[in-house]
């Protein structure tokens, strides 16, 4: 996560990626069709779209949890697989996915422990991250003693454990209520400003995408494609705060993304029926 970090190597480069899930009969489901996307180092990019638009699939491909049918994916100039092996990214899912038998500190230390970091260094790093996500009083609590929002904060701390230059987040706040969600968004903005990591963030909330991102990638379903990319331009991460939600530019970007998302309600689909004809 260090040597390849020159400014001209993108954090993520997705080129002409198609992913077709084989079906038992018929031609299979095209989850992604010829998708290309580049994420710059330190950039916050959201993927938004209705269910079935392949946004989670795209994230899983970048994380090398799945392999594209065709096309290429590079993370910091390396094939996705190599980037996974080199631990170039941190990841957080919709479910916090904490191990119930480990304390908060134990869960955050997990990736460090798995990669052979010494005990003292682990302790120190975990304490640092626990402070960063504001759970200092809960280090020795078990996940079942935490609220959903707190669990998700632990998961985010865990994804930051190895100081990755890229964070992959799959609807990490999707299961939280609206109030907790906004708090978590504010915190994520602060954390991103502090860590300078690039983020690929999957969400189905328009305000969330606009509030957090430098760019919002609007996707359309069946087959999953990028419809448009909206540059939000709300300024530096470090300058974003609660008052941004009242900002003129925020509302402008909001309506722009909304229009793009609802654009094809009329059902005009230029490529016709690919991938849906059997149903």
């Amino acid at each position: 996560m260090s040597t390849s970090m020159t400014n001209d190597v993108p954090a993520v480069r997705v080129q002409g990626v198609t992913r077709i899930f084989a079906a038992r009969k018929g031609s299979g489901v095209t989850a992604l069709d010829d998708v290309s996307l580049t994420v710059a180092p330190g950039e916050f990019v959201s993927l938004i779209g209705p269910s079935g638009c392949g946004k989670s699939t795209l994230l899983r491909l970048v994380a090398d949890l799945d392999v594209p049918t065709s096309g290429s994916i590079e993370v910091f100039g390396k094939p996705a697989r190599q980037a996974r092996i080199d631990q170039d990214y941190g990841i957080a899912f919709q479910q916090a996915g904490l191990l119930p038998w480990r304390t908060v500190a134990g869960n955050i230390e997990l990736p460090l422990e798995l990669h052979g970091v010494g005990k003292a260094a682990r302790r120190a790093r975990a304490a640092e991250l626990i402070a960063l996500v504001g759970l200092a009083d809960f280090a020795s609590h078990y996940p079942d003693q935490l609220s959903g929002g707190m669990q998700q904060r632990v998961a985010i701390a865990r994804s930051l454990a190895e100081s990755p230059s890229l964070l992959l987040m799959d609807e990490p706040f999707g299961a939280l209520d609206e109030m907790t969600r906004e708090r978590m968004q504010n915190e994520l903005v602060r954390i991103c400003a502090e860590t300078q990591a690039a983020v690929v963030f999957v969400t189905h909330s328009i305000p969330e995408a606009v509030f957090l991102s430098n760019r919002v990638v609007v996707m359309s379903p069946r087959p999953g494609r990028i419809r448009s990319i909206v540059s939000v331009g709300l300024g530096e991460m470090s300058g974003r705060g609660e008052d941004l939600r009242e900002d003129e530019g925020f509302f402008h970007a909001l309506s722009q993304v909304r229009e793009l998302l609802h654009g094809d309600e009329a059902g005009i689909n230029p490529t016709g029926v690919r991938g849906v004809e059997t149903r």
Partner: protein, 320 residues
């Protein structure tokens, strides 16, 4: 998940990030239900005794016969001795011989003998069961190849395999080592014990969420590390009931195999021997039955003790 009987309190969802804590009040919420369970258990036992005595008092001496079929047993002192007779008999000598031990001592010695054999059988069974589960978890092919045989193995009656095991064992001899009869009994006990362990462990090892498995894959760690850090801890909730079942099976297997093989010294032998005395000494056959119950309780209690050490791994699952 059926085995997670000790789930901790369910999660409170939208908690506004407010530190709503559920620090477990061990004293009040864990100990008291256990105590209550113990009280209910004893009450159940007392009720059973009461029903026995009640039926003995009011039931007809020749039993309840419906259309020529006896549906409830005779109530004579021979067929249904009083509970007091059963217990008094425990403290009388085994036989009329001057050197005879009190019955309870003979039964206790037999119980310990059987417990030892069952423990060996349990250990072997647990080892084999775990090994099979690991193999099946590692290789899909192994699962489809072995699993049907594991299930099939339990349909073979013990009585059928006991003589075979004994005959094969008798032919074994490497140097100093000779196969002893008790080893045959332990082997048969393990034959019963491995089954629940292999099935329970297989389910347990496969129990982690896709989420957790994905996470491990992101960490790019190998199968052994995933096993140690994720699959084994996650399987504890499935493994403990399987171990308890295996312990009880090992005891039953030992008792039955002692009878089939004709091994002296254990509870199984005593059950057969004392049953012969039932005609003149109705309290006597009950002593080894109590002995085998005792062995079963000790075996199950031992697994409970293991569970106590592993209780960290039985915490409630987390979900947001």
């Amino acid at each position: 998940m059926p085995t997670q009987t000790e789930r901790t309190a369910p999660l409170n969802r939208g908690a506004l990030g407010v530190p709503e804590l559920r620090v477990p009040h061990r004293r009040s919420t864990v100990v008291r239900p256990r105590l209550r369970a113990g009280v209910f258990g004893l009450a159940g036992l007392a009720l059973l005794g009461l029903v026995w005595e009640l039926y003995k008092t009011v039931g007809p001496a020749d039993g309840v016969v419906l259309g020529g079929v006896t549906v409830l047993p005779r109530t004579t002192d021979l067929a249904m001795p009083h509970l007091a007779v059963m217990f008094e008999r425990l403290f009388e000598p085994v036989t009329g011989a001057a050197s005879a031990l009190p019955l309870w001592q003979a039964v206790l010695a037999g119980s310990l003998f059987t417990l030892g054999i069952a423990a060996v059988g349990w250990l072997v069974g647990v080892t084999v069961g775990l090994a099979l589960a690991l193999l099946m978890q590692r290789l899909r092919l192994a699962e489809s190849a072995i699993l049907p045989w594991i299930i099939l193995s339990q349909t073979v009656p013990l009585i059928a395999i006991a003589p075979l095991v004994r005959r094969w064992g008798a032919q074994l001899q490497f140097g100093e080592f000779t196969w002893e009869s008790w080893m045959s009994v332990a082997l048969i006990a393990s034959y019963l014990a491995f089954f629940p362990v292999s099935i329970g462990a297989l389910r347990g090892l496969g129990s982690p969420d896709a989420n957790h498995v994905d996470l491990m894959r992101c960490y790019a760690v190998g199968w052994w590390k995933i096993l140690w850090r994720l699959r084994l801890p996650a399987s504890v909730g499935y493994l403990l009931p399987a171990l308890r079942l295996a312990a009880v099976s090992a005891v039953v297997g030992s008792v039955v195999a002692e009878v089939s093989i004709g091994l002296r010294g254990g509870i199984g032998r005593l059950i057969v021997e004392y049953a012969g005395a039932a005609g003149g000494d109705p309290g006597k056959p009950w002593a080894p039955i109590f002995g085998s119950i005792l062995v079963g309780l000790v075996a199950a209690g031992f697994v409970g003790l293991i569970g106590l050490f592993l209780r960290r791994f039985r915490r409630g699952e987390v979900s947001t």
